[in-house]
């Protein structure tokens, strides 16, 4: 519990980080959104179909667009509206569905960007004092390749989980086991059970790699494999505390989802209504990002309270090299 609240405290003390990752999310999504706007605008042309689409859902036009869409255009479906978007994304993830190539490319770029920033984020939360922009990016750069190696290992593990374990659980075992069941409730409960099993495996991998990243940055480790094995030891020896903290954060996530389900804006109206809804949606995304940072911050706090002390990091405070002119002035 102390680590949970400590995590939120560290987030509040570094609002720039939250704004920074939000900006990154926005910047990486923007080019695709501009492309999508172009696709929609081209299709609407100067037609009157735009009148209906400007103030709400013109489903007839929407279906016509969908029937002609290719590539990224195929992602423009009614599932993008309000809470359906979140439901669709989580469902697609759990059901192992693939994204279109442009979206997959954006996701990959996003994950690489996060990997780069993660070093600076963990370093800042660990030090618990301002490091300035230069120091932040210096830390990010310093730890990037180590974190990248961890990310590659993580992608191999996750890839195996989805390609083999998920496939075996949901496309083979579940189908074979429930194919002869005549009560949908029972089939659904089996699916939920498998979601739980698979979700547990994802969480275990997720937790281990989280602490691997933390140990790599906080202890200034050079070996990604070393950080990984150290993380496994750490998690195993403090299973209860690690699990408890993760559970607290997960419950917070569920509460956020429930709130979002209630307040998610629909698709009616244009003008002020539309942009108000967009603003509310951005606030929700900001909250999700905060929660993402909370996972990192609280786990860092837990690690430091277990094996070190608050603000401990092995690496010296990153200093941006001064320019030759500045040296001359000195």
């Amino acid at each position: 519990m102390r680590s949970f609240s400590e995590g939120w405290k560290r987030i509040r003390s570094a609002p720039a980080l939250l704004l920074g990752v939000y900006a990154m999310t926005l910047v990486l999504a923007l080019p695709l959104a501009i492309t999508m706007r172009g696709l929609l605008r081209t299709h609407l042309g100067a037609s009157l179909a735009a009148d209906g689409a400007a103030t709400g859902v013109n489903y007839d036009w929407w279906q016509e667009f969908s029937s002609q869409a290719t590539g990224m255009g195929t992602t423009f479906t009614p599932t993008i509206i309000g809470f359906a978007a979140t439901l669709d994304n989580v469902s697609s993830l759990l059901d192992g569905q693939r994204e279109s190539a442009p979206v997959a490319a954006a996701l990959a770029l996003y994950l690489v960007a996060w990997t780069f920033l993660a070093g600076g984020i963990i370093d800042r939360y660990a030090r618990q004092r301002p490091v300035r922009t230069a120091g932040f990016f210096a830390a990010s750069g310093m730890h990037f390749f180590g974190l990248l190696r961890l990310a590659v290992m993580a992608s191999v593990v996750y890839g195996w989980l989805f390609a083999y374990v998920h496939r075996w659980l949901f496309l083979e075992w579940l189908v074979d086991h429930t194919r002869t069941m005549s009560v949908e409730r029972d089939v659904f409960l089996w699916r939920v059970a498998l979601y739980t099993v698979f979700g547990f495996l994802l969480v275990v991998v997720n937790v281990i790699f989280d602490y691997a990243k933390i140990r790599l940055v906080v202890e200034d480790r050079r070996s990604a494999l070393g950080a990984l094995s150290a993380a496994m030891r750490f998690v195993w020896r403090r299973l209860g505390r690690v699990a408890g903290l993760y559970a607290l954060n997960a419950v917070t996530f569920l509460i956020l989802m429930a709130i979002w389900a209630l307040i998610a804006p629909g698709a009616r109206g244009g003008g002020v209504t539309l942009w108000l809804g967009f603003f509310v949606a951005q606030l929700y995304l900001l909250a999700r990002l905060a929660l993402k940072l909370q996972f990192i911050a609280s786990e860092t706090a837990l690690f430091q309270s277990s094996l070190a002390h608050a603000s401990y990091t092995a690496a010296p405070l990153p200093a941006w090299p001064e320019s030759p002119a500045a040296e001359l002035m000195r």
Binding site: W61, E64, Y110, V187
Partner: protein, 700 residues
Amino acid sequence: MAAIIGKIRRVPFDSRSGHPDLRRGVPHRRTSLFLAAVFAVAAIGARGQGGSDQQRGSDSQGGSKDPPLRVVGVQTHDAPEPGARSPRNANYDIDVRLDHAARTLSGRQTIRWRNTSARPTSELQFHLYWNAWRDPNSTWLRERKMARNYTAPLPDGWGAMDVSSIRLHEPSGSMRDLTSQMKFIASGDGNPEDRTVLSVPLGLSVEPNETIQVELAWTGKVPRGIARTGFIEDFYFIAQWFPKLGVLEDSGWNTHQFHAPTEFYADFGVYDVRITVPSPFIVGATGRQTSRVDNGNGTTTHRYHEEDVHDFAWTASPDYIDLTRTFTHPGLPPVEIRLLMQPEHRGQEDRYFSATEAALTRYGAWFGAYPYGHATVVDPAFQSQADGMEYPTFFTGRARYFPSRTRQTPEMTVAHEAGHQWWYGMVATNEFEHAWMDEGINTYATARVLAEAFPDNRWELRYFGGHVPWSSPDVPFSRLDNDRMAGYRDNAEADVPATPSFRYWPTSAAIMSYNKTALWLHTLENHLGWPVMQRVLSTFFERWKFRHPQPADFFQTVNEVSGQDLTWFFDQVYRSSNTFDYGVQDLVSERRDDGAYRTTVIVRRYGEATFPVEVVTTFTDGDQITEKWDGLDRRAIYTYDRASRVARVQVDPRRVLLLDTAYTNNSRTLDPRGGEASLGWAARWMVWLQDLMLTYAFFL
């Protein structure tokens, strides 16, 4: 006189039950006298016809002989009783036993069949539908593999139907065994491994209007739920389960092999069926239950009877919740609705009943009253493959454990299948060749029912393996969506609708039969107006109920009732695969030296199909000009000199032509809001993308 009577090949008849009396070997005395009188009249009349009778009486060597005495103009005693709605020329008396442990049926049936065609026949042809799932080499399974998402049956999931004996009642009263002469035929694709059509040479000629009686013994291996029939756990839905006669038409036997994209075709008759199942099972079936007998050995025999139907299906399960409600409506006869419900769908019964009642009310008012007085609705088990299917007086719906929050299920399905009682059940079209005549007309009518009875319908999707529903209140599901516009656009050119349905490409067969037909019927309604359209359909129904109409009969009815020759329309929508696409090519409004505006409107026919459309030009001062374009040329140009600039132009603004595959290009405005609309929707899409990014950020 006895010799004359013997020639007719009558069989013993029990006048009390109305069924063949197989216990007796001599005709009923009163009936014999009646027939004798009839024959006497016929014989006297035949003497005046001279040569033509002698010609009919010629034997196969070309010589003449006394014509076989047949009842000309008067039906035999097993022909329709006064008040019969249909010809009743294919009557089935069936005993069937379900072996629940072995998943088999064993049956005996007696068929009384009257040749209602204009040609004699010396064979019978039967459908053995369940042989479509006997092995992977059947025509049905070969065609299904061409479609998406094919899954082979489980090892215990195959079906089969085997006729162990067939015997013909001779005029003398003896039985002639025809079993050794049975053979499978595949007149469609010549597939020697397809065993869905059985031909049985009779060794004699059945002349027009003559009746024969045959007895069959057969067994069936119940398949695991496939194509609306089969079992899953303790749930059985049994359809196409007995050897069923094809239809003898003037051109010969119409007994198609069972194809993946098609359904069925049979003659009307009386069905009397005794179904023996384990006693705990609740049974529902076509018709009314007339008796229920506990056999004392753990089984119960349920007897069902129905007249003037062309098929019989049944269901059995120990888990059903059995509910009844009576439909009443001023001006329509009451109907007792029996609902057999799955326990896990309890709470959705009102939705089933209200959807059935909505169909009974509107179809009854629009086309004609439902005459049977009862209907059984089945809520099928999950994964039974029995959902959304129709049989006479008996049909299935579709419900989910997490109830739909819209009207998609069960209302849409139930209203559609109830509607099939008219289009398929009473107007008994050939579903092998003209599936559009039942599916398309019914889809069109169902869409109208749903728009009236359930106008609040919304788009819905299901997540997490298709279980959890989510709908957006902002995305309406309109009548056009119920006409299935969405699927049509992608497949508009897939086939020529006039192609016999069994030759449609498997993945787009439904689009042709359901979607495209509903859309052109709705277009026709827009063109003629609903009052005329309603008269067309009610006339067609009244004229062809309990008969087998062809497409030409429908088109003729449309032309007759509308008072227009709409052949040009049917040439476009039915006899070709051309698509419709009208649009605005250009819109310019140039200011002249005198301050007025010269507006040029260029509209274009992008598609190959043609239809007359309106072109409405609106000016900034509010004035409108409507042009009627016959739509034949590739282009039409309209020029206007007006004080005001043009605001917008629309081709077919009233959306008469629903088959236009690209309606967006039908309009153009000089003050477009495409930028605003695309910005808003791109912003909403970006939120989805950001949410997706954060979801994948879980992995970091």
